[in-house]
């Protein structure tokens, strides 16, 4: 009964921090013969790619017999919380995964060490640059991915609808989704999360902007914003299951697709490897746009902790995990997220594989990328405000105009 929840935990950690004399001075003392162990905390291998990560670790340890890599894998949903707690207590791993949206805050707070002497020519330049700040490299991109439209061919055939193409618009998607939806049989036409991550992209697809150019106020409270919010929220309960029916719970959408009960699914390429032969016949296409195309691109990177005692060894591992051939081959062989390599020939075998047949769509989508708005320390608060507002529109408790107005006021207050 008398549980003192996570509060006490947080405070206990604080005490630990206070006693350990915050941020012990880092010393780079890994001479080539000394045996060192470095820790790597990640989420990118969680949910099916743990073995593939292990393959890369083993190859690295073989090439560097004096370095042992100790891996900790966490689910994506818990990763940020765990990392933040570790950073507060000074117990973070030597190397850890970083998302593009969080880098700014980590650099500003001195959590990651600048990396010198990295061979930048091995990386896709646009990705490498997105992890730079003031001319310094703060993390190395390990992979990139984007979001595409998955579709179940059998359901399209049954509803006598042509398959999605790269020239599809929202109107085409809605028409097809309506024809496929058969709520009596539990079959739905469409699935797209009603959340921040879909909203900023839908906003770009209909020609709107999230932030004003100076970054000091929001711009989504516009006719385009309302259209984007209505496009996402309006699917729920018509061509898409509602939250009460399970939407939004983990793995709900992918399971529905695997069970052959979902016509179209907006999701990242990281789920592709889990589909294989269920449903039987499926493919992908670039996501439909409204007035223009826009796809979400995500990238992950690995940073070295500013308080690591073995920075040289840690950077060696970070480089290996982001630019080695073994890493690239393993990722492509497994259909994991794509390596951020500058060498397009490495990616060729990926295109040659089947299932999904239209792998070209993954690269075509990158021609029109919408990046998430980044505002620094209040990033998560902003994400929650938008997702909450969309939830109100989805449940029809608020109009899109009112909900976005409220969200705009709250986020503008954060930007001051």
């Amino acid at each position: 009964m008398n549980k003192k929840p996570l509060v006490s935990l947080g405070l206990a950690l604080t005490a630990v921090l206070a006693m350990s004399g915050c941020g012990s001075a880092a010393s780079t003392n890994s001479s080539s013969t000394e045996k060192v162990t470095i820790k790597y905390s990640n989420f990118i291998s969680n949910g099916g790619n743990e073995k593939n990560l292990d393959t890369i670790v083993q190859a690295f340890e073989k090439a560097n017999p004096n370095i042992t890599v100790q891996v900790t894998t966490l689910p994506y949903k818990d990763y940020a919380t765990a990392l933040q707690t570790d950073l507060a207590a000074g117990t973070q791993a030597d190397t850890f995964d970083i998302e593009y949206a969080n880098l700014r805050s980590y650099v500003a707070n001195g959590a990651v060490a600048p990396l010198d002497g990295v061979d930048g020519s091995k990386y896709k330049q646009s990705l490498l640059q997105s992890y730079q700040s003031d001319g310094k490299q703060y993390a190395l991109p390990s992979s990139f991915s984007d979001v595409v439209l998955y579709y179940n061919k059998a359901l399209f055939d049954a509803a006598k609808v042509a398959y999605p193409t790269a020239s599809w618009t929202w109107a085409d998607e809605t028409a097809a989704a309506k024809k496929i939806t058969d709520s009596g049989a539990g079959v739905y036409g469409d699935f797209q999360n009603v959340s921040f991550y879909e909203f900023y992209k839908a906003l770009a697809q209909t020609g709107g902007k999230f932030l004003n150019d100076d970054g000091k106020s929001v711009a989504f409270n516009s006719p385009q914003g309302i259209k984007a919010a209505e496009w996402l929220a309006g699917k729920s309960g018509t061509t898409m299951p509602t939250p009460a029916q399970g939407a939004g719970t983990p793995d709900f959408d992918t399971k529905l697709f695997k069970d052959g009960k979902l016509g179209m699914l907006h999701s990242g390429i990281w789920v592709a490897s889990s589909f294989a032969d269920s449903p039987k016949s499926w493919d992908i296409a670039v996501e439909p746009g409204d007035t223009q195309k826009a796809s979400a691109e995500f990238s992950n990177a690995i940073g070295v902790s500013a308080n690591s005692k073995n920075k040289a060894a840690a950077q060696k591992w970070a480089e290996y995990m982001t630019n080695s051939d073994v890493m690239a081959q393993t990722r492509i062989g497994a259909g994991w997220e794509l390596p951020a390599t500058s060498d397009d020939s490495v990616l060729k075998p990926y295109l040659a594989k089947d299932k999904p047949a239209n792998r070209k769509a993954i690269f075509d989508a990158l021609d029109n990328v919408a990046l998430p708005p980044v505002i620094g320390d209040n990033q998560q608060k902003m994400v929650d405000i938008i997702t909450n507002a969309l939830g109100e529109v989805e449940a029809k408790r608020s109009t899109a105009a009112d909900a976005l107005k409220g969200a705009a006021d709250q986020i503008n207050a954060l930007l001051k």
Binding site: K4, P5, A108, A244, G391
Partner: protein, 321 residues
């Protein structure tokens, strides 16, 4: 709970007991036995005092220190004095969290007390299989909140849950439960009361069994009926147990978190956001550890004041035999 029991009037508390055991030392010089006695007491206290010091008292005061700073857990702290407290008091989100917490307690406390009392009264009579029944009612108390919360989320599912299905059978359209801001808190209250029924039952049952049988016999001879006996004997005699249940439920009620986190996460649209969930979100989602620490202290002071009022007020209605 010892502190609470000590304060009751006329009871020889531990202080009195200690005096009696202060050894043979009538003269002041007899430090030997006193020292020995002190060390003995210390030896017994240390195993529980050390964890209390390291995991409660030190963190509490370091939280106070943090509460005077702006801190995102990662970067350096920035001194803001009492700024965090001022910010919180004026913040609609924090006010909402306190209001929702009070809403929770107002709904939960009567439900769990009356329910627990009814079961305790039923299981205090000589019915068949009552030991087994007592065990069954206690089972939810020792079950993990995560499990209970998921089960209730499923029972109260607006479209596929069994509760709305049963309501449909009698022609009632069930509410949206945890998907509807107006019903998210009632959903949490129902699940919480169900889980804690067994705990309240056990405390009250112990109280019931301590009531001497001859009181009832005398009252029956005087012609008191069932209800008369309940209101004039059982409830007054049960008041110390009731007091204990209410103090404990209030303290726990203000710290409600697990069920909220697992059932609604504070949603939809913050309609079930409670104080501890707010502390959690501020620290681990929004990186505002300073404000979260200040809120922890506000919650502590709030609970302290309410408990002191209760301890003072008990003289008016709690009867110790």
């Amino acid at each position: 709970m010892t502190a609470l029991q000590d304060s009751r009037s006329g009871n020889p508390g531990p202080t009195a007991t200690m005096k009696r055991y202060r050894g043979p030392g009538i003269q002041r010089k007899a430090t030997g036995p006193r020292l020995k006695y002190g060390l003995t007491v210390a030896a017994f206290l240390i195993p529980s005092a050390l964890p209390l010091l390291f995991f409660t008292i030190i963190p509490m005061f370091s939280a106070f220190w943090i509460s005077l700073n702006q801190w995102n857990l990662v970067g350096p702290m920035k001194w803001v004095g009492l700024g965090n407290y001022g910010k919180l008091i004026g913040d609609p989100g924090t006010q909402g969290a306190f209001l929702h917490t009070v809403y929770y307690i107002v709904g939960y406390l009567p439900l769990v007390y009356i329910g627990g009392l009814a079961i305790a009264l039923a299981l205090n009579s000589r019915i068949k299989g009552r030991s087994m029944m007592r065990g069954l009612y206690f089972l939810p108390v020792v079950t993990s909140w995560i499990v209970v919360a998921l089960v209730w989320r499923w029972l109260l599912n607006p479209s596929t849950g069994i509760v709305n299905w049963l309501l449909g059978l009698i022609g009632v359209t069930g509410p949206g439960w945890w998907t509807d801001p107006a019903w998210s808190m009632p959903s949490i209250i129902v699940a919480s009361a169900w889980k804690d029924l067994g705990f309240v039952m056990v405390i009250l049952l112990a109280g019931l069994q301590a009531i001497p049988e001859d009181l009832y016999e005398a009252a029956t001879v005087d012609g008191a009926g069932r209800w008369r006996r309940l209101f004039s004997i059982t409830l007054p005699m049960l008041s110390p147990s009731t007091f204990f249940v209410i103090v404990l439920s209030l303290i726990n009620g203000f710290q409600v978190f697990d069920q909220v986190y697992a059932m609604t996460g504070g949603g939809p649209n913050n309609s079930s956001q409670v104080v501890v969930q707010q502390i959690y979100d501020l620290t681990f989602r929004y990186g505002r550890a300073g404000e979260a620490s200040a809120l922890s202290w506000l919650l502590f002071l709030f609970i302290l004041v309410i408990t002191l009022i209760q301890v003072r007020g008990q003289k008016k209605w709690v009867h110790y035999a």
